[in-house]
């Protein structure tokens, strides 16, 4: 055996745990740099856009679990964001608990709804699952446009109907715009970390086997039902937290912003951003909120983004199925290899 082979065989004995840790460290470090740069440069308009960018990237991370890990197309993710937002506002106005409690309630309920929305996936894949989940998103659109979001009124729906609409207060430790942006970055950072940990450990491996095929997964001892349910619950939870963070941003939510089209858009941009790298979620969030904000800032119609996104999606599907994040990762590894050769 050559010397290089010996080192290669000796290394893995201690490598895996510390390597996972190193891969996980990328998440908080990147989030911290991003948060500090934006917080120190942005004006109030951009800060608000950046806050929703970061919050939404959490729901994209949920989509990336379903599509990138399990290969399941779910087109109702934005509806789950709405569920999380609704529950957060409802709990917040009814009991006035700390924001974190309302937020967790939103995440948990969205997680259950996500689990229910995932039931078709036990039987369906591909186009059929996409259609069924899109219809669920459509059903949510009808419900939410009839109910609206709670704004401090009486009754189960909590609608104030015009007079005396209340705002959901932001968390006590993050009342200002900058503080709340940093708060959202911290919560999202934790959420992305949880998602990334899942990807790098036992559930992630089980999910990739399910993506290969259910018989393949079963033949490897994977309890397919449990791991699928887990993925849907986690994905729903992340969407729910994203909804809570959005509700906290302006203190209210608008039912018209939660149509089925938003779920479609979210899925398309998740692909453009990249579902196989964790930072693809952040890129998708930027595309979703920062690009329209940029166009508005330049005095153009924000709806132009739909056309731009269509082209971007076509480009991603045709030439870069791992999205922008995948291209960044490939570039980074090329640079690393080039640097390695020079040494």
């Amino acid at each position: 055996m050559s010397a290089s082979e010996q080192t290669a065989q000796a290394l893995p004995a201690r490598a895996p745990a510390s390597k996972t840790l190193k891969q996980l460290l990328h998440v908080p470090l990147t989030m911290a740099v991003f948060a500090l740069v934006v917080a120190s440069l942005a004006n109030s308009f951009w800060l608000s856009a950046a806050t929703s960018t970061v919050a939404l990237s959490l729901s994209v991370a949920g989509l990336a679990i379903l599509y990138g890990q399990l290969g399941l197309v779910s087109l109702c993710q934005f509806a789950l964001v709405g569920v999380g937002g609704w529950v957060t506002l409802r709990i917040g106005h009814a009991f006035h608990p700390p924001f974190e409690v309302s937020m967790l309630a939103g995440g948990i309920v969205a997680s259950f709804v996500g689990l229910v929305f995932g039931i078709p996936a036990l039987r369906l894949r591909g186009l059929y699952l996409a259609l069924v989940t899109l219809m669920l998103a459509g059903a949510f659109q009808i419900v939410i446009s009839a109910w609206g979001f709670p704004d401090g009124g009486p009754g189960f729906l909590g609608r104030a109907d015009g007079s005396g609409r209340a705002m959901l207060p932001r968390p006590d430790l993050a009342d200002g715009a900058v503080a709340y942006f940093l708060y959202v970055c911290a919560v999202t950072g934790i959420g992305l970390l949880v998602a990334q940990w899942h990807k790098l450990s036992r559930p992630g491996r089980a999910w990739t086997l399910i993506r290969k095929g259910e018989t393949v997964a079963v033949a490897s001892g994977v309890d397919v039902l449990t791991y699928k349910a887990w993925a849907f619950a986690l994905s729903g939870f992340l969407a729910g937290i994203a909804g809570a963070l959005l509700a906290g941003n302006v203190g209210q939510l608008d039912g018209r912003a939660f149509g089925a089209f938003e779920s479609l858009n979210l899925f398309a941009l998740a692909i453009v951003g990249g579902v196989f790298n964790w930072y693809g979620a952040l890129i998708a969030g930027l595309l979703l909120r920062a690009i329209p904000a940029l166009l508005t800032d330049l005095g153009m119609d924000g709806y132009m983004t739909i056309g731009i996104f269509g082209v971007a999606l076509f480009h991603a599907l045709a030439t870069a199925p791992s999205g922008i994040a995948g291209q960044i990762a490939a570039l980074a590894s090329r640079l690393r290899r080039a640097a390695g050769r020079e040494q």
């Binding site: 491996r205 086997l209 393949v216 196989f276």
Partner: protein, 234 residues
């Protein structure tokens, strides 16, 4: 030892396996038969993806059919597939870990993976991604997955398909070592009669869901019925 008693599988009006009775005792046994003979169906019966309408299968004295596919895996049943199923975005080590997660107790997982990597000779490729492996390396990963977690019976569905002769020979040598080193019986399903002849002491031949011949490989392959049905001789 696998004991198959009067197993019948029925899909509508078709009986891919029709009253099959056979006992396999060799450490490495072969299963051959022409297309549509019921080989893959038998494999699916053994691994639990197809439920027979009647019959009984015993593995090492324990009834197999009462167990779910998952219970069979935990009980020590392993299988590979005709098309290799290596996950592209997991490393070689990750691919092995994916099964070790479910069949090896946490403290022993690392050791089991190292042992499998060394056995199939992929120790140096542990950190390579599945997508960068060639077919031979992928087949080795598949074999590595099968020997993790104290297997009792390993079903290999055309393990050497698409390999060069040299690669096939290397794989064959490895498979032959499995019973002695891991204590598992191996059942190889293949079209390649030479591979079966070189590898298996005992062979079972199926045709139209029925047992055509069973016994020592040399004798079975010389059987006139087998030559007629499978090798195309008149």
């Amino acid at each position: 030892m696998i004991v198959i008693e009067d197993v019948m599988v029925q899909f509508g009006g078709v009986r891919p396996i029709n009253g099959l009775t056979a006992t396999l005792t060799a450490p490495v046994a072969g299963l051959i038969g022409p297309n549509g003979a019921g080989k893959t169906t038998l494999l699916n019966v053994l691994s639990g993806f197809v439920t027979p309408v009647r019959g009984n299968v015993m593995l090492g004295g324990q009834p197999l059919l009462a167990m779910t596919p998952l219970q069979r895996v935990r009980h020590g049943l392993r299988r590979s597939f005709q098309t290799e199923q290596v996950v592209e975005d997991l490393t070689v080590r990750g691919n092995l870990k994916a099964i070790a997660d479910h069949v090896v107790a946490a403290p022993d997982r690392h050791e089991a993976i190292d042992e499998a990597l060394t056995f199939v000779g992929l120790g140096a490729l542990g950190d390579r991604l599945g997508q960068s492996l060639n077919l031979f390396e992928r087949r080795l990963v598949e074999l590595g997955k099968c020997i993790i977690g104290k297997p009792k019976l390993i079903l290999l569905d055309e393990p050497a398909a698409g390999l060069t002769e040299e690669e096939g020979n290397t794989l064959r040598e490895l498979i032959l070592r499995v019973p002695a080193e891991f204590g598992a019986q191996v059942l190889v399903i293949d079209h390649d009669v030479e591979l079966i002849r070189a590898m298996c002491k005992e062979t079972i031949v199926l045709d139209y869901g029925k047992l055509l011949a069973i016994g020592p490989t040399g004798t079975v392959l010389a059987h006139p019925d087998v030559r007629r049905a499978y090798l195309g001789e008149l």
